[in-house]
């Protein structure tokens, strides 16, 4: 169980909507994962993180996106992170 309550989508926040929509689009998901929802406690920080991830993990570099995702999984394995 998470150590903090994980926020649901705030219908009154256009900024949060835009952030969640960007996450779903970037990750090709139909839901917003817990880790992205947990970050909205500090929405500006969450958005900054998400933008950095888009630049790094997108297909605009020299390594293909799928391979960078593989490196992400490898890194997570080294840290024994189930998430």
């Amino acid at each position: 169980m998470p150590t903090i309550p994980i926020p649901e989508l705030d219908d009154n926040s256009a900024e949060q909507h835009a952030y969640f929509d960007a996450i779903k689009k970037r990750m090709n998901l139909d839901h917003v994962p817990l880790i992205s929802r947990a970050m909205v406690y500090k929405l500006d920080t969450a958005i900054g993180h998400s933008r950095g991830m888009s630049v790094l993990m997108g297909s605009n570099g020299v390594l293909p996106g799928w391979f960078k995702e593989m490196l992400a999984v490898v890194t997570s394995a080294v840290y024994a992170c189930d998430y």
């Binding site: 169980m1 998470p2 150590t3 903090i4 994980i6 990750m27 998901l29 839901h31 994962p33 817990l34 880790i35 947990a38 950095g52 991830m53 790094l56 993990m57 570099g61 020299v62 390594l63 391979f67 960078k68 593989m70 490196l71 992400a72 999984v73 490898v74 890194t75 997570s76 394995a77 080294v78 840290y79 992170c81 189930d82 998430y83």
Partner: protein, 167 residues
């Protein structure tokens, strides 16, 4: 492809932990005063050919110290090298990509020996500065993200249809 990648993780994580445990100096760092935990044996008659094969595989004058250290037990060196070689040789993933994975593992594990060795190997196999930068930045991002997720005790939810047991 995923199994290949994780065999690289398995082989490299073990190898660099051995190198770091033995306190081996990075292969390509000059002037290190670090003393290994145990003496690294010279080539013995029963390891000369194999260490030569290893040196050739990595295009080095001598086999890397971590393999020379394994030469204390020639049969163990032989079995270990055959296994590691089979993992590092190209298959669905190219040798360069496998080496970039090895570099990511080394950086994530904080291994000077591994980062030095596989960074050098990646360049030798054709990776440029941009590729190495991207690998290390992916490690940077996910080294942090994994701690964020673990610290908040988040459970995987990327595939909710799989359920909590993952399957």
């Amino acid at each position: 492809m995923w199994v290949e990648a994780h065999f690289v993780v398995m082989a490299v994580h073990g190898l660099i932990r051995l190198a770091d445990g033995l306190r081996l100096a990075p292969e390509f760092e000059e002037g290190s005063s670090r003393r290994p935990m145990i003496a690294i044996p010279d080539d013995k008659p029963d390891t000369t050919d194999l260490l030569g094969e290893i040196a050739k595989f990595f295009e080095m004058e001598r086999a890397p110290a971590v393999f020379r250290a394994l030469g204390r037990r020639p049969l163990y060196l032989k079995m270990t090298w055959r296994w590691i070689r089979s993992i590092l040789e190209p298959d669905l993933l190219s040798r360069e990509r496998k080496t970039l994975i090895a570099l990511a593992v080394s950086a994530a594990a904080g291994s000077d020996y591994g980062t030095d060795f596989f960074g050098h190997e990646a360049r030798r196999l054709g990776a440029d500065e941009e590729a190495i930068w991207e690998v290390l930045c992916v490690v940077q991002r996910f080294a942090g993200l994994t701690k964020f997720a673990s610290g908040l005790d988040l459970r995987p939810d990327f595939f909710p249809e799989w359920g909590e047991d993952g399957g």
